[in-house]
C-alpha cells in the first residue's frame, strides 16, 4: 500500500499492533479510541471471541484532517496473538507501513514474546519484506505491575530489542505510554514520505 497518494492528496498509514496473545494490543487501541475526539475517529471494528480474545483483528480508523493539503488517515490494526491464527496475522500484516510490537513485560511471558517476535520476522520474510526496512517500535506493556513480576525496560531491551529500535514502557489499560508509542511509530513511518525514504 502506498503511504501517500499525490493524485488524491491522501496520506494513509497502516500501522499493525503485533505481539503475543494477551499482551495488550487491543487494549492499546481501546485507549486510543477513548481519547480521540469523536469527529476524528471512525467506528472501531472488533471481531472478538466470547472470551474477549481477538479472533480476527481490530481495526481503528483515525482521520487526522487536512495536513499540508493532504487528507491524512491512520488505520490501526491488531493481529490475534494466539499461535493458531497464523493466516489472519499474515493477512493483516500485508501492506503495513509500520509495526508496533507489544510485548508483555511479565517475567513468565518472556518466551511468548520472543516467539511472537520471531513469528513477526518470519511472516515479513514470507512476504519478501526485509524486516530491517519496516518501521518498528517496541512497547513493553504492563509496566504498572509489581516490580517482582515484570522485567524492567532495560532487561526487555536486552532480550528483545536486538535492532535497537525505539522502545516504550507502557500501561495500556490506564494510558501511560500508549500515545508515546503511537507517536514513535508515526514518526518512523512518516519519514518514508521524504525523498530519501528516511534512510
Amino acid at each position: 500500500m502506498s503511504l501517500v497518494n499525490y493524485a488524491t492528496r491522501e496520506i494513509t498509514c497502516k500501522i499493525v499492533y503485533y505481539g503475543p496473545g494477551r499482551s495488550g494490543k487491543t487494549t492499546n487501541l481501546h485507549y486510543i479510541y477513548s481519547q480521540v475526539p469523536a469527529d476524528r475517529k471512525g467506528n472501531m471494528v472488533s471481531l472478538a471471541t466470547q472470551t474477549d480474545r481477538t479472533l480476527f483483528f481490530d481495526f481503528l480508523p483515525l482521520d487526522l484532517g487536512s495536513i499540508s493539503g493532504f487528507t491524512t488517515k491512520f488505520q490501526l490494526y491488531t493481529v490475534p496473538g494466539q499461535v493458531y491464527y497464523q493466516t489472519t496475522r499474515k493477512l493483516v500484516l500485508q501492506g503495513a507501513d509500520g509495526v508496533v510490537f507489544v510485548a508483555d513485560s511479565q517475567v513468565r511471558q518472556l518466551d511468548e514474546n520472543i516467539e511472537s517476535l520471531q513469528d513477526l520476522h518470519a511472516n515479513l520474510a514470507e512476504q519478501d519484506i526485509d524486516a530491517r526496512t519496516v518501521p518498528l517500535v517496541l512497547q513493553y506493556n504492563k509496566q504498572d505491575l509489581p516490580a517482582g513480576l515484570i522485567h524492567t525496560q532495560v532487561e526487555l531491551d536486552d532480550a528483545l530489542n536486538f535492532r535497537g529500535v525505539p522502545s516504550f514502557g507502557a500501561d495500556a489499560l490506564h494510558g501511560p505510554g500508549v500515545f508515546e508509542t503511537l507517536r514513535g511509530i508515526s514518526e518512523l513511518v512518516l519519514r518514508k514520505l521524504s525523498p530519501s525514504g528516511g534512510e
Binding site: Y6, S66, I67, G69, T72, G175, R183, L190, S194
Partner: protein
C-alpha cells in the same frame, strides 16, 4: 459589507489547528487570484473563519490598494440577488461582483436548496476565475457535505484549496486567552489563564465568553480565586486530572504528525498535486502533469506548471474562436486536453474553413430501441425505407404527431442507420429547428452566414427536428428553402419532424410548406395499448426487472398520452419500489399509481369515434331544452 477592522492577521492567534488555513490565507492576500483560487475554509462555528476572511481583506487592501476587496455573507449575497432579479437588474448584479478583485463570502453552507442562486453563483465564479479574480469562501462543512448543491458548483468550490480549521489546542487556547486579556486590559494571573485553557471549549467564542465571566466574577468577588471556584461559577464541571492529560496526548500526537508530514512530504509533489486538483476542478485533463510523478528524477515544476498554464490559455483562446464559428463547439472535449493543443487548433481551422459537418444524430436514439405497433407502424416502415435508400424513396420524409410519441427518436434513428450503413461515408446533419434558427442568428451577428450555409449544404442527409419552430422566422425559412432545394436537387435525403401536419403549421411560407408536403407526410399516433405494454416491459427490463406480465398490464392501463409520460410512470413505480426495498408486484404497482381515472371522453373524440355523433340532433345531451322537447314528443 464593511470588513471589521479588528479582524486582522496580527490579532489572529495561530496554532496547529489553523496553521495551514492561515498560511493559505496569507498567500492568497499577498497574491490574489494566483495561488489558491478559490480558497475554501471550513470549520465549526466560532473557530475564526470570519476573522480569517477579515485578515485576508485587510492585508489584500494594504498590499494592493487598486484592488476592490468585498466581504459578504452568503445570505446577503442571495438577498441582493433577489433584489436584482425583482428589479430586472441581474446583469448589473453579475457585473458588480465580476469586477471585484477579492471576493470574501462567509457562511456558504446556506447555499443548500437555493438552486437559482447556485446557478447564478456558478456563472459568477466561472467568470471571476477566468479573470483571475480571487474567491475566498468559508463554511461550517466541506463543499462535498453542503446538501442539495449542484455538483458542478461543488467541483468548482473544491477546485482550489480546501482547508479546515479545527478546535484550538491547549497552547493556542492559552495564547488566545492571553491576547484577549491583554486587548481588554484584564488583569488575570497567567496560571489562572492556563488552567482555564485546559478546558476543551468547542470554539474560541466560548473561550472568550468564559474569560469575560471569569473577569466579571472576579470584579464582584473578594479574595483569591481558584480555578475550581471559577469553573463552578461558569457552570462547568471540574475536570479530573487524568482527563486533562489525555487530551494533550492526542493533540500532541496530532502536532507530531503534522510537523512530520510538513517536514517529509516532497514539496514539489505537493505543489504538483495541488495544481492537478485545481486544473481537474477547472475541467481540464491533467495526464500531462500526472506523468511527472512517474519521472525518475524531480522535474522543473515551475517550468512544467507554466507550460501547462500556457497550453490551457491557448486552449481557451481556441475554444473562444471555435465557439464564435459554431456555438456547439464551445465546451467540446478537444479544448480540455492540454496534451492535444494541436488537435484543437486543427479543429478550429477546419471550423473556420467551414469544413466541419453540422452536429449529427444522437447515438442514444437507435432504431432497435424504437418499439413499433399499429400507432406508429407506418412511420417506422417509412423510416426503414428511407434508411435503406436515402434520397430515393420518400424525400422529404415528414413525421408529425403530438409531443412525446417518439418523432425525435425515429428521426435520429434514421440518421444513425444511414451513417452506419454507409460506414460513415455519408455525413448526417441532425439539428433541432430552434437551434438552426439560433445558429443563423449567431452567423448573421458574426458575418459568417456563408460559412454556416456551406456547412448545411455540404451534408448528405439533413434531419430537422420540430420544424414548427420555424413558424414566423422568415429569414430562416428563406435559408432553409435554399438549403432544401440544394439537397433535394442532388438527391440528398431530408427528414423533418413537426407536432402537426405541414398544412396546419402557422406562418410557414407556401413554397416551403408545399415542399414539406411533397415527399411523404406520415403521422405517429399516441401509443396504442400493445405499444404501451411493450414500452413498459422494455423500461422495466432496462432497469433490471423481469417484466411481470401483470405489472406490465397495470402500467399499460394508465391513462397516458405519450411514450414519455408512460416511461415517467414506470420510473415512478421503480423509484417507489426501490425506496421500499421491494420488487414491484401488480398489487404494489396498483397501490402506488392509485385507481385508474379515465378522463371523460371529450366531444371531439366521441365524434371521431362514431360519425353518427357528428349529427347534433342525435346527441341527446346537445338538445336544447330537452325537457320541453321530451314532453312535446310524448304528446
Amino acid at each position: 459589507m464593511q470588513l471589521d477592522n479588528r479582524y486582522r492577521f496580527e490579532t489572529l492567534v495561530v496554532g496547529s489547528a489553523n496553521r495551514l488555513a492561515v498560511a493559505a490565507a496569507r498567500a492568497v492576500a499577498e497574491a490574489p487570484g494566483t495561488v489558491y483560487n478559490p480558497l475554501f475554509v471550513y470549520g465549526a462555528s466560532g473557530l475564526g473563519k470570519t476573522h480569517l476572511l477579515g485578515g485576508i481583506g485587510q492585508l489584500a487592501r494594504a498590499l494592493h490598494p487598486n484592488l476592490t476587496v468585498e466581504y459578504v455573507t452568503l445570505v446577503d449575497l442571495v438577498e441582493q440577488h433577489h433584489a436584482a432579479v425583482a428589479q430586472g437588474a441581474t446583469d448589473s448584479w453579475t457585473a458588480r461582483w465580476t469586477d471585484v478583485g477579492v471576493m470574501l463570502i462567509d457562511d456558504l453552507q446556506f447555499l443548500t436548496g437555493r438552486r437559482e442562486t447556485q446557478t447564478e453563483l456558478l456563472k459568477l465564479f466561472a467568470s471571476m476565475q477566468q479573470r483571475t479574480r480571487q474567491l475566498v469562501m468559508t463554511s461550517d462543512r466541506p463543499p462535498s457535505e453542503i446538501a442539495d448543491v449542484d455538483e458542478r458548483l461543488i467541483a468548482r468550490l473544491g477546485g482550489g484549496l480546501v482547508v479546515d480549521i479545527g478546535s484550538p489546542d491547549y497552547e493556542t487556547r492559552a495564547a488566545i486567552l492571553r491576547t484577549v486579556a491583554a486587548e481588554r486590559d484584564f488583569e488575570v494571573p497567567d496560571e489562572l489563564l492556563n488552567e482555564l485553557a485546559r478546558i476543551e471549549f468547542r470554539n474560541v467564542r466560548e473561550l472568550q465568553g468564559a474569560l469575560n465571566r471569569l473577569v466579571a466574577h472576579r470584579s464582584l468577588g473578594t479574595g483569591e480565586l481558584r480555578l475550581d471556584d471559577v469553573l463552578r461559577a461558569l457552570g462547568l464541571e471540574v475536570p479530573a486530572p487524568a482527563a486533562r492529560r489525555s487530551v494533550d496526548d492526542f493533540e500532541s500526537f496530532l502536532a507530531d504528525v503534522t510537523s512530520a508530514v510538513q517536514q517529509h512530504v516532497e514539496t514539489w509533489k505537493s505543489r504538483l498535486s495541488e495544481a492537478i486538483a485545481y486544473w481537474a476542478g477547472e475541467g481540464y485533463r491533467t495526464a500531462l502533469l500526472d506523468r511527472a510523478f512517474a519521472l525518475p528524477s524531480q522535474p522543473d515544476v515551475d517550468e512544467l506548471l507554466d507550460a501547462f498554464a500556457k497550453s490551457v490559455e491557448r486552449l481557451r483562446k481556441l475554444e473562444a474562436r471555435a465557439a464564435s464559428v459554431d456555438p456547439s463547439l464551445g465546451g467540446q472535449e478537444a479544448f480540455r486536453d492540454p496534451d492535444q493543443v494541436e488537435r484543437a487548433a486543427e479543429l478550429v481551422s477546419r471550423a473556420e474553413a467551414g469544413e466541419l459537418p453540422p452536429p449529427g444524430p444522437s447515438p442514444a436514439f437507435v432504431r432497435a430501441l424504437f418499439e413499433v405497433s399499429t400507432s406508429n407502424l407506418l412511420a417506422a416502415k417509412a423510416a426503414d425505407a428511407v434508411a435503406e435508400h436515402p434520397g430515393k424513396r420518400y424525400n422529404p420524409l415528414l413525421l408529425h404527431g403530438p409531443s412525446g410519441v417518439g418523432k425525435t427518436h425515429l428521426a435520429h434513428a434514421i440518421g444513425n442507420e444511414i451513417a452506419a450503413r454507409s460506414g460513415g461515408a455519408l455525413s448526417v446533419a441532425c439539428v433541432p429547428a430552434q437551434r438552426f434558427v439560433d445558429e443563423l442568428i449567431a452567423a448573421i451577428g458574426s458575418g459568417t452566414v456563408e460559412r454556416w450555409r456551406a456547412r448545411y449544404r455540404a451534408a448528405d442527409v439533413l434531419i430537422l427536428d420540430d420544424v414548427q419552430f420555424l413558424s414566423g422566422k422568415e429569414r430562416t425559412q428563406e435559408e432553409l428553402f435554399h438549403v432544401f432545394n440544394t439537397l433535394h436537387a442532388s438527391g440528398r435525403q431530408l427528414v423533418l419532424t413537426s407536432d402537426q401536419p405541414p398544412r396546419r403549421i402557422p406562418d410557414i411560407e407556401e413554397r416551403l410548406r408545399s415542399r414539406f408536403d411533397g415527399g411523404l407526410v406520415v403521422p405517429i399516433e399516441p401509443p396504442d395499448r400493445l405499444l404501451r405494454e411493450r414500452i413498459a416491459a422494455r423500461t422495466l427490463a432496462q432497469h433490471g426487472h423481469d417484466a411481470d406480465a401483470e405489472v406490465v398490464r397495470v402500467l399499460a392501463d394508465q391513462p397516458v398520452h405519450n411514450v414519455r409520460e408512460l416511461v415517467g410512470v414506470v420510473h415512478r413505480v421503480l423509484a417507489a419500489a426501490d425506496a421500499a426495498g421491494v420488487t414491484p408486484t401488480p398489487a404494489f404497482t396498483r397501490r402506488e399509481l392509485g385507481p385508474v381515472v379515465r378522463p371523460t371522453p371529450s366531444r371531439v373524440t366521441m365524434r371521431a369515434a362514431d360519425s353518427a355523433f357528428l349529427d347534433r340532433e342525435k346527441v341527446v345531451w346537445d338538445w336544447p331544452d330537452t325537457h320541453a322537447r321530451l314532453i312535446e314528443e310524448l304528446r
